[in-house]
Symmetry: C2
Subunit: 189 residues, 2 copies
């Protein structure tokens, strides 16, 4: 008999709890896989986009997660046109793929002042590049980083659904939706 190293994957409630525990771990542990999800959005022209982001908050009770970004980044333009996004985490050691379907509010200015106040100085370098992120420049280093509270944005992501695949000795896939109070449903993997 092989001992299953991930018994939580066989039960919908335990699987759901495990997914949230790993998201929460990503906020506090810079080496956890959920620290750096891939955020997928749709551009105003209909292109799918994806980039690595840093998970800054995860609230299992509210079912929400936060990401910080430059207010002038392409992802903000995309989210203002289509506020739906998916966060993707591949946790190799747990053989676990988590996909988090979210609707996103872009918060900035006074409503994020308290969060900005807690952003450490080195991290603030990420908000306020001149020219704005994605603008053409003649040489690679023709830009300046000047921390700027006005360029700081919080993407408050309300989780609408979780799609989870566990690639253990047996493959399992489940979906959890806010609309059904996260009851969970097994899907063919």
């Amino acid at each position: 008999m092989t001992v299953d190293p991930h018994p939580w994957a066989a039960d919908l409630h335990r699987l759901h709890a495990q997914v949230w525990a790993r998201l929460v771990r990503g906020v506090g542990d810079r080496h956890a896989p959920a620290r750096h999800p891939t955020l997928a959005t749709v551009s105003p022209e209909g292109w799918p986009e994806a980039r690595t982001v840093v998970l800054r908050a995860a609230d299992p009770l509210a079912g929400s997660v936060d990401i910080h970004t430059d207010l002038r980044s392409a992802k903000v333009v995309s989210l203002r046109a289509n506020p739906r996004a998916t966060l993707h985490v591949w946790d190799a050691s747990a053989h676990l793929q988590t996909r988090v379907e979210v609707t996103v509010s872009v918060l900035s200015g006074p409503e994020v002042a308290a969060i900005w106040a807690k952003v450490p100085d080195p991290s603030r370098q990420s908000y306020g590049t001149t020219p704005a992120p994605g603008q053409r420049i003649a040489a690679a280093l023709d830009y300046a980083k000047e921390p700027e509270a006005a360029s700081f944005a919080v993407l408050r992501c309300t989780v609408q659904a979780l799609d989870v695949v566990h690639l253990g000795p047996q493959h399992r896939r489940a979906r959890f939706e806010r609309a059904t109070h996260w009851a969970g449903q097994w899907l063919a993997p």
Copy 2:
């Protein structure tokens, strides 16, 4: 003086070559970061989607990459409605994010018979699940894997653009487009 461990990041031509070398490595080396890109697509309802895939071929000269999938998977439905996709690779040791913007042809049946013939038996288990991937099932293991050539599809991805970010001691970002013969353009990171 600190020695830059990634001198290729400072030159557009070398950066472009490095990105392709790492994609090619992903095909042959199961431990290379580019082995498992995240594939972002748009659902027919306009939701951004993302999932881990396996890179099966990379052709720098043609500017194309291949992914294998089940013909009945959600990603095929999405790609038939909107054939644009983005592949995302985060290469931690190289501090390199590569985003590959592609247009996708879904190949199946006789046109992929020669590729199917080379897929090893264990891998064939991934094509032909009953019920089809994503269908609801009452219990986690209420499905069967029966390799089925008719369920095998190749996503032939024609690269239209590469967006590359190198997070070295200095951050650099560049974009390479097919339309300008991959000449390359620095962007503000």
